[in-house]
């Protein structure tokens, strides 16, 4: 094979699935642009990016967790709790809000890491439990209500302002993704994460520090969820202890649509972003479709359509992968 072509080589069926999600995203954008007025307006694009940056961050953390063969169900609860913490700290300084929110996320991540690596409880159950605990803590801290953030310390700039014409949350998410890509593709720890996902016992026998690496991944996922919580608080002006329900499923679906197998050992940062944008785009398109007034879609049909869309995407992807495998 020519050396120049090397990076583009499709070496596994997963590579093909990744290509598929990017094509699907482009297709959906094209569909929206042709069908709806103002779909590609800067207002829609910018508010789309601003809102969905939170989910993109969570999906990034989830991608790493899933690559290790684990799962993190606690991200939604963590984000909710972190938004409360951030809101509580925002009156002292904007940075206090930011750091406190991230620290709250980190704490949940560390707890996950402890339960999974030290108590050896499966990630699904461990993070299911911490999800409950995070919601509970958030509600307790918030006294069951939304907590107003301070509008005086500049905390709301994080979520509501623009920088160079783009929403700050989008910049943050972009930076996180570039960092994530570097870690996964260019740093040894990224390779170790992949190898652990390939087989934990084997990775241990090959001399990798499995527990430490796993812990780092769960902590990263928690911290990213914390950051998403900060954005939530900043963007909407309140810490919201009841938000975040279902975020974990959205993130898992994004990662999977991005061609990452839940069995671990493979995955791509870029395709995860494409997956998250693709799924978010479906909501946006449904909102525009309602506006056309042809069919007034009830909320119920919306969930049927979302389910059907997910079905089409994963079935197509599965077909791509099996076709590749058989040749």
């Amino acid at each position: 094979m020519h050396t120049l072509l090397r990076p583009f080589a499709i070496k596994s069926s997963v590579d093909l699935a990744r290509l598929g999600v990017i094509l699907a995203l482009l297709g959906l954008i094209l569909f929206g642009a042709l069908r709806y007025d103002n779909f590609v307006s800067s207002y829609n694009i910018l508010s789309f990016l601003r809102y969905n940056s939170m989910f993109a961050l969570i999906a990034l953390g989830m991608a790493f967790v899933i690559i290790t063969g684990g799962i993190d169900l606690s991200v939604g609860g963590t984000a909710a709790m972190a938004s409360v913490v951030a809101a509580l700290f925002s009156p002292s300084h904007w940075a206090a809000g930011l750091l406190a929110g991230m620290a709250a996320g980190l704490a949940v991540g560390a707890l996950n890491a402890f339960i999974i690596t030290k108590m050896r409880i499966q990630p699904f159950i461990a993070t299911l439990a911490t999800m409950l605990a995070a919601y509970g803590t958030g509600l307790l801290l918030a006294d069951n209500q939304s907590v107003s953030v301070s509008y005086d310390t500049g905390f709301t700039i994080i979520g509501q302002d623009d920088f160079l014409g783009f929403p700050i949350p989008a910049w943050i998410a972009l930076a996180a993704y570039i960092l994530g890509w570097l870690v996964l593709e260019k740093l040894p720890i990224g390779r170790h994460i992949l190898a652990i996902g390939d087989g934990e016992a084997t990775a241990g026998l090959m001399g990798l520090k499995v527990e430490r690496t796993l812990a780092a991944v769960y902590i990263a996922s928690g911290t990213l969820a914390g950051l998403a919580g900060v954005m939530l608080a900043s963007q909407f002006g309140a810490g919201q202890p009841t938000e975040g329900v279902g975020w974990e499923l959205f993130a898992i679906a994004s990662v999977v649509v991005g061609g990452t197998l839940l069995t671990g050992g493979s995955g791509s940062v870029g395709a995860t972003l494409a997956g998250a944008l693709l799924l978010a785009m479906v909501f946006n398109i449904l909102n525009f479709e309602n506006g056309l007034g042809w069919i007034s879609l009830s909320a119920y049909w919306q969930s049927v359509i979302r389910g059907a869309f997910l079905l089409v995407v994963v079935v197509l992807q599965a077909k791509l992968m099996t076709r590749h495998r058989s040749t």
Binding site: K11, S12, R191, A195, G204, L205, M206, L208
Partner: protein, 502 residues
Amino acid sequence: MLLSMQGISKAFAGVAALKSAALEVEPAEVMALVGQNGAGKSTLIKILTGVYRRDEGSVAFDGKAVDFTMPAEAQAAGIATIYQEINLAPQRSVAENIYLSREPKRFGLIDQTAMRRGAEAVLKTFNLDIDVEWPVAHFDAATRQMVAIARAVTQNARLIIMDEPTSSLDEREVAVLFETIRTLKRSGVAVIFIGHRLDELYAICDRVTIMRDGQTVAKSPMTEMPKMALVRHMLGKELAAFQAMAPDEDVPDRPLRLAVENAGAGVRVRDVSLDVREGEISGLAGLLGSGRTETARLIFGADAMQRGTIRMEGRERTYHEPADAMADGIGLVSEDRKIDGIVPDMSIRENMTLALLPKLKKAGIVDRIRQDEIVTRYIRALGVKCASPDQPIKELSGGNQQKVLLARWLATDPRVLIIDEPTRGIDIGAKSEILKLLRSLADAGLSVLMISSELEELLAVADRVTVLSDGTSVATLPRKDLSEAALLSAMAHQAGPSGDLA
């Protein structure tokens, strides 16, 4: 002394695997570690490298007492290990696997180019010319084994442990490996070599440590330990003779049982024709990667056959699923027991009767009495070393797992048994038992298609051997023409462009 392990004891769930075992290795020597299946060799190694924690005993490496809590520590201290079940990350590339945990770096980032070049260079010394950026899973067992060896060799270790490194290698590769070991020795590296093939031990090892039932029963220089004595120490008794067991004459008029004509699928199996007759052992030989395993899977319906025909007892058959082939009385003991064979969490009893289950039922319910009877019979017949039939199979030593899998198929009472590397990882005592058993089953009417990389094994029991080369059957040698030279020349003569023997 480089390594000294003394008084090592280890019990699993109250059952002792090691009882005060000892192992000593000098710098720059190759120490053979031998013993029957389940003697405790792998366990001893895993205690050394920190996979398991010992219950009792002391370990000193390089003069210092050590107590590794995980393999990473042993690796850092200068011990490289190739474990018995090849341990590589299957979805990562060959290059990454070789360098995992000590990647070459530039500006803190992985230096992909250096990694690729380095990997290519080491593999070249093993005569292996492969694209190192493909995932390891893409390659067959032998290549993976070589990659694992390359990984160990490049770790600059003071001690390299090889737990049955040659079990999936053919003779050419064994030769390459031995050359590597000699080079290592010259540079002062010590090697612990675990193996069941005595000739190999005598060819490469300086000293030998013999284990039996979790204890060290003997150690001596290799030259002072005659084969017969070694086997006696190992087994605790004399070895039953292991000689030619096949009838010397061809019996050409035996009816044809299984006939494969021009079978093919994809690029791995191009054009294979072979016959298996009633009551005979038909061998299938070939170099590594010649497509023997794939052929077996095609016949058994595990992979889809794209070309050619299968005739079972005269009728043309198409098998879409293994279940179809089984319904016709065909069985397959697969090559890779970890991936295709055992159900690790299930008991020995269940593993042994898995294929038989549908026949063991009364109104959908498993007949426990018959099940027990069958399990007890085969545990005794094959000498499976286990605490009880209810023990999870994953707790058995490699060789004993292999015996259970063999029993799984024998219990189905097949008319054709395809058996891929039947004696891989099996100790010399059990090996002759198994071969004898296969021979007597054949004599009683069973048809066996036996894939083996060990020519002496084929020579000993096969009535006829089909030779594959590059996915094509190039020769079928009848009993009277069988000899090591004839087989080698058939395998080599037709070796494809990638073959080195021409």
